[in-house]
């Protein structure tokens, strides 16, 4: 039955009381009113509506009763203010009932607010032996939002509180509300509350709403404006300070949206982190993590098994024993929240639902634009990449140098991969990406996010190919990468000097992007020393490849020169005095003077040609050198990354 806010009483939100509560409260009221010999006590509170002033409970008795509840005096004061007795000057049935509910709420550890009494609550406990209030009944009654014409004040133990969802009240669970921040007395159960819903109802009341933008901030409870009472003057100021303090307490993810459950919202960085973690366990973001893998991973969080079990239960929406990416993010987020002290919710918050997570998968804009710029710059060399391939590439475990390097693709359809995509450079073209990277990525753990990402920018096909060919330290199966180009690489480089040139020319732009390990020349020099220590094979290969390249390079320039000279010197056997071909040139003898003069001019031309050719060769070799230096640096980076991984694997704490 309802105790409607009678106009005559001028107070009282509509309350729904359970039978037990009804009985108890009416009895208490009777006791209080009867003791004072005040107006006739009416059982059903509806009568109070009709007889506004007639039914009152003596203030003294009521005060005694309240004190018996063993709440601090301040709380009681607030309760009396809230229930409106102060305002109206007496304890009518509605005020009394509201006060009793508030006492129950306060005894449950809830802040003294009107919303507290909207939910199921145990009966208030009073230390007077004669009351039957000590019996706690389960409260299946649902309380609807009040019209809240009573202003209420903010209490000192003002904490975030979640209210029942109507649909969650089907379970006959015992009292469930509790503040979100961690006062030690809070009951363990939580229910998500659509605060906006509650607030909309509050708004409809006559009171003015506190202007604080609760939707944009943490969903703190806002007291209503003080239009109708003295206590209202203080609350707004309290409110603002408390809001600020709470927003500081909370994690700073604060997206204004329809969902007020800010602690359950996943921020960008968090999402990135979760996705990276997911990739560390399962490289394919569209696939799922098996239960045992996830169990091992989450066990590292050092939460208790029942809690982990419950988190799993919440997050594995389809109960298939495996976690897809959104499920994994939700589970991870719950674990993070739990470790930060947030108690676990009763049900999965809407911001953690898989559909929501999937729909809300973000696309980091800056990375996208960068990616687009790259793709523009390298249109010709872009080959259509499979999405699958891209998916296999992990962003974060860029400890694996080659892996991120290959992440480049030209397509960015998948939203989840957009972030990754953007981070990868598009420079890589010709190398076949393959799934063999996956085990490699799965081996890497989470530590090196920034560095790996940066590395991806620097990759070029040539470097990668060379790196593939030279790279023993990277985790095993990359055979295809290694053999695919290692043998043919040099020839390609040799006979297509222009291509590497352009690619290496495009190298410099990537370093401008985010956290790239500094590609300083000095580092390269130092790495050159470290390089042989790090990779003997790579160094050997590097040594061999440059040598291989050198000789071919040296030859072609000479050949054209020779060839060029031959037609010029068709009449004579005088060979060019080119520097590269010294032998035949020295054989030139016995020419007529004119022929010699012609020859000298021709020689000059030849020399100039030779010079030009040599310069070209120099340029090519210089580029090659720079590329090799680049590789050197990257290998060094990889080594550092691996060392870091090793360090981090030792303590084993991931979370």
């Amino acid at each position: 039955m309802e105790a409607a806010a009678g106009g005559g009483c001028g107070s009282g939100p509509p309350l729904l009381l359970s039978e037990g509560e009804q009985q108890c409260y009416s009895e208490l009221f009777a006791r209080c009113a009867g003791a004072a010999g005040g107006g006739p006590v009416s059982g059903p509170p509806e009568a109070g509506r009709a007889v506004p002033g007639a039914v009152t409970a003596a203030a003294g008795t009521v005060a005694d009763l309240f004190r018996a509840s063993q709440l601090p005096a301040e709380t009681l004061h607030q309760i009396t203010e809230l229930c409106g007795a102060k305002r109206v000057g007496y304890f009518g049935p509605t005020q009394f009932y509201i006060a009793l509910k508030l006492i129950a709420a306060a005894q449950s550890g809830l802040p003294v607010r009107i919303e507290s009494i909207k939910c199921e609550l145990p009966l208030p406990r009073f230390m007077m032996s004669k009351t039957d209030a000590e019996i706690r009944f389960g409260n299946p009654a649902e309380l609807h939002g009040p019209k809240a014409q009573i202003p209420y004040s903010v209490t000192e133990k003002n904490t975030f509180k979640r209210m029942d969802d109507e649909d969650k009240q089907q379970e006959t669970q015992s009292p469930t509300m509790s503040p979100l921040a961690s006062p030690p007395s809070s009951p363990p159960h939580y229910q998500r509350v659509p605060l906006s819903h509650g607030y909309s109802k509050l708004r409809s009341s006559t009171e003015q709403m506190h202007p604080a933008p609760y939707e944009a901030r943490q969903p703190l409870v806002q007291p209503e404006g003080p239009s109708s009472g003295a206590p209202g003057a203080k609350p707004p100021r309290h409110q603002a300070s408390l809001i600020r303090s709470f927003s500081v307490e909370r994690e700073p993810h604060d997206n204004s949206s329809n969902y007020p459950e800010e602690p359950w919202r996943i921020t960008e960085e968090q999402r990135e982190y979760y996705i990276n973690q997911f990739r560390s366990l399962q490289p394919d973001p569209s696939s799922f993590i098996s239960g045992s893998v996830a169990k091992n991973f989450f066990t590292k969080s050092k939460l208790s098994i029942p809690e982990l079990s419950y988190i799993w239960e919440l997050s594995d929406a389809d109960c298939d024993g495996a976690l897809t990416l959104p499920e994994f993010c939700a589970a991870f987020h719950l674990i993070v929240a739990r470790k930060n002290g947030y108690p676990l919710p009763e049900g999965l918050p809407p911001t953690l639902q898989p559909e929501y997570l999937q729909a809300a998968f973000p696309k980091p804009k800056r990375e996208c634009t960068l990616f687009d710029s790259y793709s523009e710059s390298m249109p010709a060399n872009q080959q259509p990449r499979d999405l699958n391939r891209m998916e296999k590439l992990s962003i974060k475990d860029m400890a694996d140098f080659p892996v991120p390097a290959q992440d480049v693709t030209s397509d960015d359809k998948q939203e989840q991969n957009k972030a990754r995509l953007a981070l990868k450079s598009t420079v890589d073209e010709a190398l076949p990406k393959d799934m063999s990277e996956d085990p490699a990525t799965s081996k890497d753990s989470n530590s090196l996010k920034a560095r790996p990402r940066s590395r991806s920018y620097s990759s070029t096909s040539i470097e990668e190919a060379m790196k593939r060919g030279e790279d023993p330290p990277t985790p095993p199966p990359r055979p295809q990468k290694t053999h695919s180009r290692a043998s043919s690489l040099d020839l390609n480089k040799v006979f297509q000097p222009s291509v590497p040139a352009t690619k290496s020319g495009l190298l410099p732009p990537p370093p401008a992007l985010p956290p790239r390990p500094c590609p300083s020349q000095s580092e390269q020099a130092s790495e050159a020393e470290i390089h042989p220590q790090l990779n003997r094979a790579p160094s050997q290969a590097a040594d061999s490849s440059p040598t291989k390249k050198d000789t071919p390079y040296s030859q072609p320039p000479s050949k054209p020169i020779r060839r060029k000279f031959r037609p010029e010197n068709s009449a004579t056997e005088n060979q060019e005095p080119s520097s590269t071909v010294g032998g035949p040139a020295s054989a030139a003898t016995g020419k007529p003077h004119t022929a010699v003069q012609k020859q000298s001019s021709k020689q000059k031309k030849a020399i100039q040609t030779a010079i030009r050719k040599n310069k070209e060769a120099n340029a090519v070799l210089a580029r090659l050198n720079s590329e090799l230096q680049q590789q050197l640096k990257e290998v060094h980076q990889e080594r550092i990354a691996l060392e870091n991984q090793l360090e981090q694997l030792r303590p084993v704490t991931v979370l």
Partner: protein
Amino acid sequence: MAVCVAVIAKENYPLYIRSSPTENELKFHYMVHTSLDVVDEKISAMGKALVDQRELYLGLLYPTEDHKVYGYVTNSKVKFVMVVDSSNTALRDNEIRSMFRKLHSSYTDVMCNPFYNPGDRIQSRAFDSMVTSMMVQVC
């Protein structure tokens, strides 16, 4: 509406047992325990030749004056036992079967949780809520 629901492991120890709180819980525990013999009898009688065809739903195990006990066995020899009030004549066999099916699917969901070790007591809240929905609504 069941009065008592129990999940018994293969080794005949309870994984989960819950009774309506109004009555003497010990009595229900005892009834479930005695029903295990009947369950064993049924599955041994049927299961020798026709293990594959053995139906999971065992039907009425035995009636007492106040209650009826129904049984259900999974293929992994996990038994579900349900005690219903005899006075509840509206309950039909189909309904009992559907209740057992719900139990079974919830149990499967519990098993899917990698943090649940088979043989542990079932502490899943989802399972609890499902059983609550099946049990007699007290108060």
